[in-house]
Each structure stands twice: as C-alpha cells, then as structure tokens.
C-alpha cells in the first residue's frame, strides 16, 4: 500500500540513522575481540579507549539500533494492518527527539566523557548529555505508542467482530512493555542520575539505581525480541511458501510476554547484596515462565515450516527441511529469519542457564553472558533487524537491492561467526573469563604477571568468530548503502508478507482484549517489585558520590 511522503521520509530516516551508526558499533565489536584476545596490548587504538568502544558498541547496537528499528517497524505494521497513517506531527517530533537524543549521547561517548557502558553503572559518572540524550531517545520512542493505540481503537470501532491481527497485538504488546519498563529507567535517569551528574545532589542509593535499571534492563531484551517474533509468526510461514499453523498460539505467546517480561529483572542481581533471597527466587521462577512463549513459538513455527515444505512436495521425517527456500535471492528475508531462529534455540537454552538461581553463580558476569546474548540479540534480533531494514528500505524508496547475492549470504555468514564467537565466549566463561575487561592489558599479556593461559583458546575462538561477524557486517553495509544510491525503479510502498492461518480461527475474546492482561501485568509487577525496591531502599546503608572512571577519588562539587 501507498504511504504519504512525510511519513515515508521519517521512516527512512529511522532506518538510515541507526544503520549508519551501526558501522561504528560493529567496528568496536571487532576491536573488542582483538583487545580481549591479547593481539593488541594497549588501552586505546586510534584515540578510542577500550571501555569507550565498549560503551559505543553497547549503546549503538543494543539501544539505538533496536529502538529506532522497533519504532520504524511498528509504524510499518500499524500502517499496513490498520490501513491508517500515524499523526504526522507526532511522528516527526518523535523522530527528532530520537535523533537529537542519540546525537547528544554519541557526542558524549565520543568525547570520552561517558565511558560508563550501556548499563550506566552509577556511581561511575557520565556527562549529563549522555543521560539526557538517552532519555530523549526513550521519550521519543513513547510518542508513536500512544498514536498507535489511537489507530488501533479506531480500527477496532470499524471492525468490532474481527480478530485483531497478530502483528498489531505484537506491536502493541511490545510497546506497552517498553513504556512500562522505561518508566523505571526514566525515573533513574531524570530524578537520580541527571541532578547528581550535574552536581545538584551529592549522593545516590546505588542499590536502588541498580534495581530500577534491571526493572528495565531485562524487559528491554523482550522489546528487542518481539519484532522478530512478529516476523516469525506473520511472515516466515508465508516466505517459506506455507501457512501459519496457529494464530492463537501467537496471541497467547504475546500476552504471556506482556505479563511476564518485566517482573523478572532481579535475576540479574542474584549476586547483589541488600535484596532478599525470597525476591530472587520468585523472580527466577517467573523467568522460567517467560520461556514458555518461546517454546510455544518454536513448536508453532516448526510446524508451519514443515507444512510449507510438505506443500512443496517434501516427504520423510526430517528431509523436508531441505525443501525450504534457503538461498533464494527473492525471499532473502527467509534466510535472515531462519538463521535467527536457529541461533535462538541456543540463545534461549543458555538464557535459562543464567536465569537459574544456582547455575547463575557459575556464569554471572563472566564471558558466558556475552556469549549467550550474542545468540539472542546478535541472533534473531539482529538478523531480523538487518533483513527487515533492507526490505523496508527497498520498498519505501522503490529501489532494487544492490548486490543481492551478498544480501542473501549475510545471515548465513553471520550465523557461522556468531556460533564460533559465542562458543568461545561461553567456554571461556565456564573457566572464569571475565566480561567487560580489557584482557589484552593483563590476563592475556604474556609480559604481565597477571597473565592467565587458561583464557587463550577461548578468546582466540572469540576473535575468529568476531572476525567472521565483522565480515558479514561489511557485506551487509555494501548491500544496504548500495541500495540507497540506486535509482528508483518502482513506486514506494509498504507491503509486508502476510501468512494466512492454516485453520479457520474463531475470535477468542480473551485473546483479543488487552484489559485483563494489563491488569494481571500490573498486579504481578507490584507483587514482585514492591519488595525488591523496598529491600534496596531499606537495606542499603550509605549512598555514593559520583566517580570518574579514571579516578579513585570522588568528584566533588567545585
């Protein structure tokens, strides 16, 4: 369908800006595996320090890219399924806030004044521009949510008897999670960190800041993931040449995400003091609950793919797999999504390891963690973002994809890289290799007395996999930016692949209404987070003044 020119241009900016910044994010990904493996034994290269690069890598890849994409893709699904356009002013204001905010945060990081990693980590202090920029990015991404709710309600009035499309439910669920969880981090940033970093307040409660951060920090991963889930349910079966086995399974999965994504953040804080064991255990158990929608998705999508393959004439118990359109240039999106799913099988299982109350002790903050989340964020999330970004770019500009062969092999090359990289990091984590550490300076520097030969093999695997990932990234950039510079050959449109459901599905009112699920969500969050926040406030004895990452003496007000 056609989209008006202003909306089209805003969407293109929301796709172009993060992919442009991603070049920086991926460069620093490569640099980190080089530093960590001890190939470089320095604090900085080309004026960019290791921890500054780590901050850039984290902020750009995990917050900027994912947020921009979720907004652009949310617009596309809402426009396409409700046949309505978002409000132009609201969309413009949202985009400007996000772009300016990102610019502020990026400037602070590049100036070396915000090397606090993407988790903020007070009492390490960043320049106020970093916090304000991040807050603007987040607030900018809230605006479309309210606009979409309006579009949904107006669609609903015209179609009272129809089931809401799975993609619309997915998008609204995702942004509801996002809005609720970012309230906590907005409080942390605006009320605690900004006044403190400006020197207006002296000290803050670190446990409270950490708890608020993880209230947001884990839900964030579902915010990244749900656009991929929407694509798995609504596009993948169609791309494979079949139908979706069950639309209701999709609705159930999304609503379970809605109620369980947020009240599980404390599983990042098992090693933290001040929070009681009861809270930790409860949230650990709920974390297993949130694996349920992923199991449901895995089964439903596998069934849908098998159906597609059999429709193409496949037989046999397993050989149907080879009937799927793996290397077809015209359905390159299939390659992006299926590789994401394959990585997610490993990503989900290793995630359950982190979530386990006792296994977490083995792996917490070791390189196992980045090994795990590169299988999730670097897997289904990242691949869906890349595939859909170039797809939307090509549609919204009416330009054919540049170097389509490269574009088709990117997800396969990337997957090979991630598997090697993550295997290395996870193996290293099991033998104690720490994450977020410039190991080339000490542990992997043979001339240092802290040299630790245990971690040579694991970090070398990380280097090999990281190198392959970097190459895949380069090929993608050639394809993406090449497409930008081609000449228009078709009308600009938004047309998403739509999977029909295999069975005729009756409308189930419970699976087509947000109210009961929102009520349960609120209740569970209150029951799990009220004690956690109260623990953090009451069991923390002293507050902390700000510190610069370079200096063991606190920053005092001049």
């Amino acid at each position: 369908m056609q989209v008006s020119r202003p909306i089209r241009n805003i969407l293109l900016i929301e796709l172009f800006v993060p992919i442009l910044l991603l070049t920086l994010g991926i460069y620093h990904g490569l640099m980190q595996v080089i530093y960590r493996s001890g190939v470089i034994q320095r604090t900085s290269v080309a004026g960019l320090d290791y921890y500054q690069g780590l901050t850039l890598h984290g902020v750009i890849n995990a917050i900027v890219l994912t947020t921009f994409f979720a907004v652009a893709f949310g617009h596309a699904t809402m426009i396409f399924y409700t046949k309505r356009e978002p409000n132009k002013t609201a969309t413009l204001v949202s985009m400007l806030l996000m772009v300016i905010g990102t610019g502020l945060a990026a400037a602070a990081i590049l100036a070396g004044k915000a090397s606090v990693l993407y988790t903020f980590y007070p009492p390490l202090k960043a320049h106020p521009a970093f916090y304000i920029g991040t807050a603007m990015l987040i607030v900018g991404s809230w605006i479309p949510y309210f606009d979409w709710v309006r579009m949904y309600l107006s669609w609903k009035r015209e179609h009272p008897q129809e089931s809401t499309p799975v993609a619309v439910i997915g998008t609204l669920v995702n942004f509801t999670i996002w809005f609720v969880c970012t309230l906590a981090v907005a409080y942390e940033v605006l009320v605690m960190l900004v006044p403190w970093s400006l020197g207006w307040t002296q000290e803050i409660n670190i446990m409270l800041a950490r708890t608020l951060f993880w209230f947001f920090g884990h839900a964030l991963v579902y915010f990244w993931l749900l656009p991929s889930y929407i694509m798995f349910y609504t596009m993948l079966p169609k791309l494979a040449g079949g139908k979706l086995y069950s639309g209701n399974a999709g609705r159930i999965a999304f609503f379970i995400f809605l109620i369980l994504s947020i009240p599980i953040g404390v599983h990042h804080q098992f090693g933290d003091p001040s929070i009681g064991r009861g809270v930790k255990l409860t949230q650990s158990i709920l974390t297993f609950g949130v694996a349920i929608p992923s199991f449901i998705t895995a089964f439903t999508i596998a069934a849908s793919l098998e159906y597609a393959a059999r429709k193409r004439g496949a037989t046999g118990l397993w050989s149907w797999i080879w009937k799927l359109p793996f290397f077809r240039k015209d359905v390159y999106l299939f390659g992006y999504l299926i590789n994401g799913l394959i990585l997610f099988i490993f990503g989900g299982l290793t995630g359950l390891v982190n979530a386990s109350y006792s296994l977490n002790n083995v792996v917490h903050n070791t390189s196992f963690i980045p090994g795990h989340f590169h299988l999730t964020v670097g897997g289904p999330v990242f691949l869906a973002i890349l595939g859909m970004s170039i797809y939307m770019l090509s549609q919204l500009t009416g330009k054919r994809i540049y170097a389509p062969v490269l574009n088709t092999i990117v997800p396969y090359l990337w997957t090979v890289g991630v598997l090697i990289f993550s295997a290395g990091l996870m193996y290293g984590g099991l033998i104690g290799e720490p994450r977020r550490t410039n190991m080339g300076l000490t542990y992997l520097n043979p001339s240092s007395e802290q040299f630790n030969p245990y971690w040579v093999v694991s970090s070398m695997l990380g280097l090999a996999g990281g190198g392959i990932m970097f190459t895949a990234g380069l090929l993608y950039f050639i394809s993406f930016f090449g497409t930008c510079f081609r000449r228009r050959s078709a009308e600009p449109v938004i047309d998403l692949p739509v999977s029909e459901t295999l069975h005729e599905e009756r409308r189930v009112p419970l699976l087509d209404s947000f109210k009961p699920w929102l009520a349960i969500m609120g209740l569970i969050i209150f029951l799990t987070y009220a004690p956690a926040i109260s623990d953090a406030i009451n069991n923390t004895n002293r507050k902390a003044p700000p510190y610069k990452p370079t200096d063991p003496v606190p920053v005092v007000r001049q």
Partner: protein, 150 residues
C-alpha cells in the same frame, strides 16, 4: 478454541518449564546452592580482615575499591569452610573466585555474603568482573589454601 496439536504444544511447554523449576528447588535442597544473602549493614564490614572462628571455620571480610581488593592475599588451611563478606568503598565491583562458583557484587552500602568450602590446596584467584574504571583489568586477589604460612 485450540486444536489438539496446539494444546499438546502448550502442555509440553508448561511441563518443560515445570521441570526447570523443580530443578531449582532440588538444587536449593540437595546441593545447598544459594545466592547472596541479605544482611543488615554496619561499619565493621568496611574493615578488611581474615578471622578464624574455630579450627575449620574462617571469615574473610573483603573491601573492594578502585582498583584492588583487601585483603589481597589470605591464607586458609585445606578443608576449611569460609564465609566471604564483600563490600565496596567507592563504585560497584565484581567478585569472582576462580573454580569455586563464588560470584558476588560489591556494592557501596551493601554487603554480599556467601559460604564456600576449600577441599583442595591451591591458589584461588579472585578477579573483578564488573567494569569499575580504567584500572579494572588490574583488580585481583588471591586465596591461598594450605600453603605454608609466611
């Protein structure tokens, strides 16, 4: 509302999750695995020291700061059960004892605690695994088990 296959899928998903949850409780009971306790804080945790409680029980009070742990080296006899208390005087640090599944966060104003038994002699390295500033990669300590006392 759901066909037989869909129902089976959801039941399988629930069963697998229930199995995982059962495993947590099993590990809590049989293996006595646990996570950091929630202790009321007081100033005494800010003094680094090793205390012997009885022949087989020790307590080590670790104080983390940019960029070292105190005590940097502690000597413990083989077979002792050691309570580890960890706090920080400045920023957030990590505390990972090699080979011992001890994995705590050192947070200003809070004290993390766990108990670990050292049955094998050796040098157990402790590294900081939370970014704590530009000297982060230098932050280390050692627990030396059954080496002759100096």
């Amino acid at each position: 509302m759901l066909d037989k296959f869909e129902r089976n899928v959801i039941i399988t998903a629930l069963t697998v999750s229930a199995l995982f949850i059962f495993s947590i409780f099993y590990a809590l009971g049989a293996k006595r695995q646990d996570v950091s306790e929630c202790l009321p804080y007081n100033k005494t945790y800010e003094t680094a020291r090793v205390e012997q409680i009885d022949a087989k029980t020790y307590q080590i009070y670790y104080v983390a700061r940019m960029w070292n742990f105190e005590p940097a080296i502690s000597y413990i006899p083989v077979g002792s059960e050691v309570d580890l208390f960890v706090t920080s005087l400045d920023v957030v640090h990590g505390f990972n004892v090699f080979d011992k599944n001890v994995n705590l966060m050192a947070v200003p104003g809070g004290v993390a605690k766990t108990t670990v038994k050292f049955t094998e002699p050796g040098v157990y390295k402790i590294v900081c695994h939370e970014f704590c500033g530009t000297g982060h990669q230098n932050m280390e300590a050692e627990i030396i088990v059954n080496y002759p006392r100096k």
